[in-house]
């Protein structure tokens, strides 16, 4: 067999003499090409693809018919089915297809270059057609699935190209995600025979789903075809074997469960489908299989105590009770001695009055901080699976846990309290993942031997390295306690090392193969189809793809750690993270792609995913003013980020914009540099992008940019942005107008705050002004920023009966899929930015009022006030209160109970049932965030010249609509009201005394004096103090005569110029903190 048999084999395939000869030819061909890249190329160039596709196609048809006929004859019952699979004779055609499929698989192993001709030769459709278990023999089905996986694997090595339309991956996934194919996959998964071949089919199908399922539409198809449900059933069957309440003798019994070695594939496929979709997650969590196995939720009572019942707690036996962790021998106690993170979180958890166990919590004796609360059984089992398994299985379980945790933060079911969950995660899950990252660290000596390992092990190690930091990132996202837990486990230096390693030049293990003969340029046979006999572009080396992947995950993990705590940001910088991050911000350019695959190293720029991850870390880091002012500027972060603003991929643009948002803040030393580079123009241009995220992010950045800019620049900014555009945004999209009449209660503050996607909330650029003394305001906004805090106390979160579950699913579905809802939400978010932009536009160091004049001139005064007014008055009176309690709890009813920890003391207007009280129907109002943003514009307008104050007071309808807001349940609304009154009665100088008195009188007539008194009794200290000053000033102005005005001015105890303005500026700062946090 020394000589190549390719040409004769091809000859036979092109001119078949007999089926037997064809099979023989195919087998020879396969043996020739396996393991020999050169011969694969030769075969393709000689035109093997067309005849292969032809064979697959014709035989698919024949085979299909035959088997369908046979299926009717003996296809009854599972036993028969099993029998049929093995008994049905293996025909010559089957063998032919089988061999052809194997040859395709071997060609695909050659990498992306081979996929191009395979796709051009239409090899994929017949392969996909062969996926139905009813039509293909079992053995062929396994092979087909395996070949498809090989094709998908090869595609994954594709180089990132600018022109995404030509991407192979698109064309492959496009062909896979069609109704018949997905249905066939469902059929494959639905098989229950206990044979290894079927197991392999299921596992390969699950892998195929994991590798390809990324987009929303694909997930939906899989969901609709019942794939998620089937996978869930498989998982539940495996889990059932671990059920402690099961009788032990049935362990080897007649169960349909797959062997446990297939668990990772199943978990990964489930995770792929539920990721980024709360609705899909809900479908998983509420599915029949999960419900019945994990007895969740329990019974119809739906009481909180329900789930500590005997059956649920039997699952608890699977993981250590955290109380017992204090035994000396336990390694966890040693590595987590202080319980510090828990204690700190217990403080936060103080607001969880719904949990009886939390009230009995005694923070003083940390050894006894024990709540008897258990995790939900599903979580318990997954934690158990993570602790028991290793490698892939462990990661898969942790990954699913992370996704479910995120879901629980948004749509809490019978989840335990936040501290309990944090405790479980930080003691039982985080250490596992941290350890995996440490072991996967490519710098350790163990990893140097990686080339000695056999391929399966090497693949697994690579997978662990690529995946474990990502899992960590997802687990600790927006949770300070867990972030601290990860850092306490000393993961930061490891992550930095890993990141550093990813830049090591990759020794090209792909030395060119030696060729026995000098290769003469092959003489092309004109008869051979050119498209299917020309190799495509070579892909990236496996090592390079690997380096990119783990670089991305390490960056994401760093971003998650640096998310909210300044100390960690500094640590990352101290450990030398900054230069690595800068290197990660360099895009892959067209120059680097022209270089051949062999000369390519991981240092030649980064693909999209890495750029986005690098932007995320940069953004996290830039939240720290001190890091921003020192390390980031030292390393010249501005330029690379600015360059990414104009990256061809919009996702990268969005990520870069979010960084720029933090870099153009007034406190940032890079501000000038970025402005000079032309950021203003670019951002204004992006405000008109078709992509919402880019529009939104750019406007946000402009808002920051605008603050403190010299008036000339500001005016230029407004001009470039165009007043007309701003008006349009402020007026809202027409679609939302229509939607707003639907009284879904979504126009309420919690709706605006509760974004569909928690990831977005995390993504929101926010800036912690860390020099700000932490005021009560700060703390409050912090609570706002943790979605779960609000969500936990959402009334009616116990969904127990089947009907309730259906309602719940419906609610989650409409929240996620209803486009008018999400449009409205988007609209509110961007309006808020626009309002804030206006506010920052008119904010001045010296309240000269010039900017206000400019704005009023540009805007048309009447129109402007009408616009502001529209944000402060109830929407169409038709918006009734009847439905608000159904879909989502209206703010009016529930806000007091969960916005403010001290709600019980909020007596005057926070009665839990607002119906009896003559309260306005807050649900009919625009989103509270819009009210607040608008009020702050008014505060700043009132801070202008005296004439502006008079102008404001003369806006009777506007003023009339502000009055009821004084008794708004949220202090965030009442506070600017107090400031507003305060500023209105401010006396500029002695010549202003008369007009000020005039204004005070008008205010009294409008009812604001009474209102201010009300605020003076507010439960909130800030509001109260502010209102007291106002009341005092009003009293002075109205009580004494005109002459007394001077006295008022002369006693600046509470309200001197300095305190007034300074206070206001302080307020601006504080509020900036809040808007930045979102």
């Amino acid at each position: 067999m020394g000589r190549s048999t390719i040409p004769p084999a091809l000859l036979e395939l092109a001119n078949p003499s007999s089926p037997e000869a064809q099979v023989r030819a195919l087998r020879n061909l396969k043996n020739e090409i396996v393991g020999h890249e050169q011969r694969k190329e030769l075969a393709v160039v000689h035109g093997v693809v067309r005849p292969l596709a032809g064979l697959l196609r014709t035989e698919t048809r024949k085979g299909g018919k035959r088997r369908r006929g046979g299926g009717v004859a003996n296809g009854s019952g599972r036993e028969r089915e099993e029998e049929r699979e093995t008994v049905v004779e293996w025909t010559g055609e089957d063998e032919l297809r089988f061999q052809a499929t194997l040859v395709v698989g071997s060609l695909a192993n050659g990498g992306p270059a081979f996929i191009t001709p395979l796709l051009a030769g239409d090899v994929l459709p017949p392969l996909l057609e062969a996926l139905s278990p009813n039509e293909s023999p079992s053995k062929l089905l396994v092979t087909t699935l395996r070949t498809l996986n090989q094709i998908v694997d090869a595609v994954a090595q594709e180089k990132p190209f600018w022109d995404s339309s030509s991407l192979l991956s698109l064309s492959v996934t496009h062909q896979i995600y069609t109704k018949p194919v997905v249905e066939s996959l469902a059929e494959v998964l639905a098989q229950t025979s206990r044979s290894r071949t079927v197991y392999q089919q299921i596992s390969s199908a699950a892998q195929l789903i994991t590798k390809t399922c990324q987009e929303e539409g694909q997930k939906k198809m899989l969901l609709d075809a019942g794939v998620l449900d089937l996978l869930t059933a498989k998982m539940a069957a495996i889990a059932a074997l671990d059920d402690p309440s099961r009788r032990p003798d049935s362990r080897h019994g007649h169960t349909e469960a797959l062997p446990r070695s297939y668990l990772p594939e199943i978990l990964e496929a489930i995770s792929a489908i539920i990721k980024d979709s709360h609705y899909n997650t809900a479908r998983f969590v509420y599915s029949q299989h999960i419900q019945s196995l994990f007895a969740w939720p329990k019974g119809a009572s739906g009481t909180y105590e329900g789930y500590t019942g005997p059956q649920a707690s039997s699952w608890d036996k699977l993981i250590p009770r955290l109380q017992t962790l204090q035994s000396k021998s336990d390694p966890y106690t040693k590595s987590w001695p202080a319980l510090g993170s828990f204690a700190s979180s217990a403080g936060e958890g103080g607001s969880y009055t719904r949990l009886p166990s939390m009230e009995t919590l005694q923070p003083s004796s940390s050894r006894n901080i024990i709540s008897d609360e258990s995790e939900t059984p599903l979580f318990t089992w997954l934690m158990f699976a993570a602790r028991r398994g290793e490698g892939r299985e462990r990661l898969a379980a942790c990954w699913l846990l992370a996704l479910l945790k995120k879901f629980g933060e948004r749509w809490s079911l019978s989840d335990p309290s936040k501290p309990t969950r944090e405790r479980h995660f930080s003691y039982l899950v985080i250490p596992l993942v941290v350890k995996m990252i440490e072991e996967a660290n490519p710098n350790t000596r163990y990893m140097e031997k990686i080339h000695m390992l056999d391929p399966a092990d090497r693949e697994e190690m690579r997978f662990v390295l690529e995946r474990s930091p990502l899992v960590l990132a997802e687990l600790i996202a927006s949770n300070k306690t867990l972030q601290s837990a990860a850092v306490d486990a000393k993961i930061l230096p490891v992550l930095i090392q890993i990141l550093k390693k990813s830049f090591d030049p990759i020794t090209t293990s792909t030395k060119p193969l030696w060729q026995p003969r000098s290769s003469a340029p092959a003489v092309r046979d004109p008869m051979i189809d050119a498209a299917s006999s020309t190799l495509g572009r070579p892909g990236l080396g496996v090592d390079i793809v690997h380096a990119y992947k783990y670089r991305e995950s390490a960056l994401l993990a760093l971003a998650a750690i640096a998310d909210s705590q300044d100390g960690f940001r500094k640590l990352i910088i101290e450990m030398g993270g900054a230069p690595l991050i800068i290197d990660s911000l360099v895009p892959f350019t067209s120059d680097s792609q022209s270089a051949g695959a062999n000369s390519m190293t991981a240092k030649d720029g980064n693909p999209e995913a890495v750029l986005i991850a690098a932007c995320k870390v940069t953004r996290s880091l830039s939240r720290s003013v001190s890091v921003l002012r020192t390390s980031l500027i030292d390393h010249g972060i501005a330029q690379p980020v600015f360059d990414l603003l104009t990256h061809p991929k919009v996702k990268v643009q969005v990520a870069a914009t979010e960084v720029i948002t933090n870099l153009v803040l007034e406190v940032s030393p890079m501000r000038t540099e970025i402005i000079e580079a032309g950021a203003l123009e670019t951002l204004c241009e992006h405000c008109r992008s078709a992509n919402f995220d880019l529009r939104y992010g750019s406007l946000w950045a402009l808002k920051h940019l605008c603050l403190g800019l010299p008036p000339q620049m500001r005016k230029k900014c407004l001009d470039t942005l165009e007043v007309g555009w701003l008006k349009q945004v402020l007026n809202g999209e027409p679609s939302s107008k229509a939607a707003s009449s639907a009284p879904l209660g979504m126009g309420t503050p919690n709706a605006a705050g509760e974004q569909v996607d928690i990831l977005n909330a995390v993504d929101d650029p926010h800036m912690d002004v860390d020099e700000e003394p932490s005021s009560s305001e700060d703390e409050d906004t912090m609570t706002d920023s943790i979605p779960s805090l609000r969500r936990h106390q959402r009334p009616g979160s116990r969904y127990t009966s089947a009907t309730n579950i259906r309602d719940r699913l419906q609610q989650i579905k409409s929240d996620e899929h209803d486009t008018s809802l999400s449009n409205e939400r988007d609209d509110i978010r961007i309006q808020e930015q626009a309002l804030d932009f206006v506010r920052n536009f008119i904010t001045e160091e010296k309240a000269s009022g010039d900017m206000i004049d400019h704005l009023l001139n540009e805007f048309n005064r009447t129109e402007f006030f009408e616009l502001l007014d529209s944000k402060l008055r109830p929407k169409n009176a038709a918006a009734s209160s009847t439905t608000t309690s159904q879909t989502a709890p209206s703010t009016g009813t529930s806000a007091p109970s969960y916005w403010s920890p001290s709600s019980s003391r909020l007596s005057p207007f926070s009665t839990t049932h607002p119906q009896p009280a003559p309260q306005p129907n807050w649900a009919a109002y625009p989103a509270t965030d819009l009210i607040i943003a608008t009020l702050y514009i008014l505060v700043h307008l009132a801070n202008g010249r005296p004439s502006h104050r008079s102008l404001l007071i003369s806006q009777t309808p506007l003023m009339a609509h502000i009055l009821p807001l004084l008794s708004h349940p949220r202090r965030d609304v009442r506070l600017p009201c107090a400031w507003f009154i305060n500023n209105l009665v401010w006396e500029e100088d002695s010549s202003d005394a008369g007009p000020t008195r005039e204004r005070a009188l008008q205010l009294r007539n409008l009812g604001f004096e009474e209102g201010a008194r009300g605020l003076g009794r507010d439960i909130d200290l800030d509001v109260r103090e502010r209102a007291k000053t106002a009341v005092e000033q009003l009293g002075k102005l109205l009580g004494a005569g005109v002459g007394a005005g001077g006295v008022g001015y002369g006693s600046p105890g509470h309200f001197g110029e300095g305190s007034g303005l300074g206070g206001l500026r302080g307020l601006g700062g504080a509020h900036r903190g809040s808007w930045a946090r979102e």
Binding site: G2, G35, L102, L513
Partner: protein, 253 residues
């Protein structure tokens, strides 16, 4: 094998060690033991024995899939016989990925084949050695250029051409002609096939055995009260198995 050295030591003292009593108290479940045995039989390719055992022990038989076990047995047999061409053919029929993605294994097989070719063409003094050279240049040489150790292996193998036939080979070269080399490669192939079908590469008993070794070492390090020796009862049979091959050799790796 480290434990066998331990096991040869003095028999346990007459008075029973508390640890031994503990051991006696534990009753391993029969289904578990049966399962282990089945697992061993299947992964080592004894389909008929497995079927009989299953019948006797009443173990569910669904795991025995004659076809795949049979295939593995045939492949192993072919390698042991030195019929590498057939072996490669059959491996590729199972799953071409096994060799496509594991160049080292593929190379090892091809080298075995080369050794056979050399053995054949040097057995008769007058015969032609071109088939061996052709084979080496077309099948092995392209791969060898990519990897240092491949190249060394190939060079070493080619020197056989010079020395054979000979009764006095250097030990290094003599290694190449021993059946152990075939057995080693066959074991690797068996493992690779098992892994590719989603099964564990080795029988579970091995990992149990290693776990036991490990825990004994750890326990002794920690100064736990253990009997001086903890014989497994496996050792003598192990030695035997090593003598004639198949079962034992995997153990020795």
């Amino acid at each position: 094998m480290s434990s066998s050295t331990v096991s040869v030591s003095v028999p346990t003292p007459t008075q029973q060690h508390p640890f031994q009593r503990k051991i006696d108290e534990i009753k391993p479940s029969k289904p578990d033991i049966d399962f282990l045995v089945m697992d061993y039989l299947i992964s080592h390719g004894y389909p008929r024995t497995a079927a009989k055992f299953a019948k006797e022990a009443g173990v569910p038989t669904h795991l025995i899939e004659e076809e795949s076990i049979e295939a593995r047995v045939e492949i192993r047999h072919a390698i042991h016989k030195g019929d590498i061409d057939t072996a490669i053919n059959q491996i590729n029929d199972l799953d071409p990925q096994i060799l496509d993605r594991n160049p080292a294994l593929h190379f090892a097989l091809l080298r075995l084949q080369l050794i056979e070719l050399i053995r054949n063409c040097t057995s008769v003094p007058t015969s032609d050695i071109t088939p061996a050279i052709n084979f080496a240049s077309s099948q092995l040489a392209p791969r060898a250029a990519t990897n240092e150790s491949f190249l060394k292996d190939l060079e070493l193998t080619m020197t056989l051409l010079i020395f054979l036939p000979s009764n006095d080979l250097q030990p290094q070269l003599a290694e190449l002609l021993k059946p152990e080399l075939r057995q080693q490669v066959a074991a690797k192939v068996n493992e690779a096939i098992l892994t590719s079908t989603g099964a564990r590469g080795e029988a579970r008993i091995y990992s149990l055995y290693r776990a036991r070794q490990w825990s004994e070492i750890r326990a002794r390090e920690a100064g736990k009260d253990l009997p001086a020796s903890l014989p497994l009862g496996l050792e003598p049979s192990l030695v035997q198995a090593n003598g004639h091959g198949e079962a034992g050799d995997v153990m020795v790796q």
